[in-house]
Structure formats: C-alpha cells, structure tokens
C-alpha cells in the first residue's frame, strides 16, 4: 500500500479540483434565480460529513443521500432515480 505522502503525490491535484468544483457549484446555485429544492438540503447534509473524523466518510455520504424508509410501495411512481429521496 502507498504511504500517505505517496497517495498525496498521486491524487492531491485531482481531489483539490473536485473540492473547487463543489465550491463553484454552490456559488453557481447562489447566483441563479429561483428556489432550490430538497436535494440541496441533502447535499449540505452530505458535505457536513466531510468534517467528521471517522474512517467511513464515503459510506456516510452515501447514506446521507439514501432513502431510509422501510415501507414498500405497491407500484413505482416513476422509473428513474434522482440522487436523493425527493418524494
């Protein structure tokens, strides 16, 4: 396995670019008119996980975007997925 230093050498620039992209996405949303929807709330909740000192941040982010209900509906309201539970 790589050392922390080797991993930073390999992936720091890519990870840095992704963080800037997220910041720019939030700025872009701010600049545009209209109201956001519940997806932005899930996004903000997921971002807060990044500050937590834990070994499973990726899992926690995925859980933050997951449908946690247990009920089973009879039929599907629509076929696709939106990335966060919107209904």
């Amino acid at each position: 396995m790589l050392t922390k230093k080797e991993l930073l050498n390999l992936q720091f620039i890519d990870a840095r670019a992704r963080v800037i992209d997220i910041a720019a996405f939030l700025d872009r949303l701010d600049r545009h008119d209209g109201d956001a929807d519940i997806r932005l709330g899930y996004f903000t909740k997921a971002l807060s996980v990044l500050h937590e000192n834990r070994p499973d941040r990726a899992k926690a982010v995925l859980e933050a975007f997951s449908d946690m209900t247990v009920e089973i509906s009879e039929t599907a309201p629509f076929q696709g997925a939106t990335g966060a539970p919107v209904s």
Binding site: M1, L2, E6, L7, L10, Q11, D56, A58, K59, L62, E63, F65, S66, D67, M68, T69, V70, I72, S73, E74, T75, A76, P77, F78, Q79, G80, A81, T82, G83, A84, P85
Partner: protein, 266 residues
C-alpha cells in the same frame, strides 16, 4: 493483461468496442439481460432480445476472439407490471438451455416495489429449479441501500439457496459490507458518474478484502465506459498493487464465480 468483463450490455455498444476490449486483453464477457433504455411494448420484444443475446452477440464477440456469455430474465425496471413480466418469464425455458446462457440475471429491484419483489422471487425460483447461478441488480442512487436490504431479506426466505452461487451487483461503500457478510458475492460497477469510480472500487477492496468480489464496466447505452476494468487495473498498478493482486480481481475471481455455471467454458 488478461481479464474477464463479467457485466457488459454489448447490444448497446458498437463493434469497435469489441475490438477495444480484445486489445485490452478481454477473454470473455458476460451480458445480463436488462432494460434497453425504453420499455418494450410486448413480450415479443424480449423474444428478439433473447435471440440477440444467445445468437447474434456471441458471433460478434467471436470475431475478436472474445467468448460471449449471457444471463436471462426480465429486468426490474420492466417488472413493475407483474402480468407483463410473467409473459416474458414464460419465454425463459425456450432459451435457458442454450450454450452461452449462464443463469438468471440481472434480476433485482428498481424502485423497491412489492410487484418488483414478487417478480424477483419468482426469478430466484427459476434459477433454483434449473440449479443455475443468479446475478442481481441493486437499485440506483437513493434507492440502493433500501433495495439491497430488501433483496438480502428476500433471499433469506429461500432455505435451499446456495449463497456462493449468487452475486449482488453494483455495491458501493454503504452496501458492500452487508452483501459480503451475508455470504453472497459482490460486484462493483465502474461508472463515470454514478456507482464506483476506480479509486473507490480499490478502496472497497482495501476495506472489505478481495474474496468473493469482482469489478465490471456494466457498459450500456448510458454514460459508461467499456474500458473501465482495464482502466481500474491501471489505477491499481499506480497504487502499487502487484500483477497477481490485480489478476485475482479481474480474472481469477470472476472465473471462480462464473465456473459455477456449467456453461462457462473458458
């Protein structure tokens, strides 16, 4: 580097992609039956699709020295109408004995409905009746966690099911552990925008180990990359994995699972 692409929807890909796969070292690929990007209007559409999977695609792959295998079912996206789903399932016995058919798949859930679950369980029973492996699709994005739990709970009701003959695909960090802990195989799908990136897939291997797990491109008509597996192998090399460690994930593991089907003659 030789490898097996255990999940690819080649009916949606060009012949150029077969050439790229062959150049990258792909010796065999497996094509689960799935959604075509639109709902088919009749069971006849599936009859033709099953012919494509069992007659046409093996020939197209063979031109590039790749062995083509497939799985049969009605996919969960079109299984929400149980009457229609059963019409399609009635076609399966006419195709299941064909020489490139490995088993039943990719069955599973899409929006986690009762109808989807009912059809999923009927498919599992077909696999048991023919003593064939099962390949399971887990839902997308926000529905994956709930759907994976429902699938694992449902499979627990089949007391005679050999879990080593079942692979639950499209796992991510929040579902890999529960699939492996329950004794099933796990598949990781490498997609550019959803599911796993190469680096996340490698992380999952580091966290959950390298037993009973494979990776695939699941390339289809959507945003996907048929070269995802060799690209992930390259990333493993950059992260100092040995050729033997890479070979276990991209060749030995899929071979071990797929050989459980009597028709996987690689």
């Amino acid at each position: 580097m030789r490898y097996i692409e255990p999940h690819a929807h080649m009916v949606s890909r060009t012949t150029d992609d077969y050439e790229k796969l062959a150049i990258a070292g792909c010796e065999a690929l497996c094509e689960p039956a799935f959604w075509a990007g639109f709902d088919r209007s009749s069971a006849d559409g599936f009859f033709d699709y099953f012919r494509q999977l069992t007659e046409y695609e093996p020939k197209r792959a063979a031109r590039y020295g790749i062995k083509h295998f497939c799985w049969l079912c009605i996919n969960p996206k079109e299984a929400d109408d149980p009457g229609f789903a059963r019409e399609v399932m009635a076609l399966i016995p006419d195709f299941i004995e064909r020489e490139n058919v490995l088993g039943i798949g990719e069955i599973g859930l899409n929006k986690n409905t009762r109808s989807e679950l009912e059809i999923f369980e009927e498919h599992v029973q077909i696999a048991l009746d023919y003593d064939l492996p099962v390949l399971i699709h887990t839902p997308h994005l926000e529905d994956k966690l709930k759907g994976t739990k429902l699938i694992i709970d449902s499979l627990a009701s089949f007391s005679n099911l050999d879990r080593s003959k079942v692979i639950i695909d499209h796992v991510e960090e929040h579902t890999a552990g529960m699939v492996l802990d329950a004794g099933f195989w796990a598949g990781m799908t490498l997609y550019p925008e959803s599911k796993c990136t190469p680096n996340r897939a490698i992380d999952i291997l580091e966290i959950y180990g390298t037993e009973r797990i494979w990776m695939n491109s699941a390339c289809d008509w959507g945003v996907s990359d048929p070269m995802a597996v060799p690209k992930c192998a390259l990333e493993m090399r950059r992260r100092k994995y040995t050729e033997a460690q890479i070979g276990k994930i991209v060749y030995d593991n899929p071979l071990a699972f797929l050989r459980q089907s009597p028709r996987f003659n690689l």
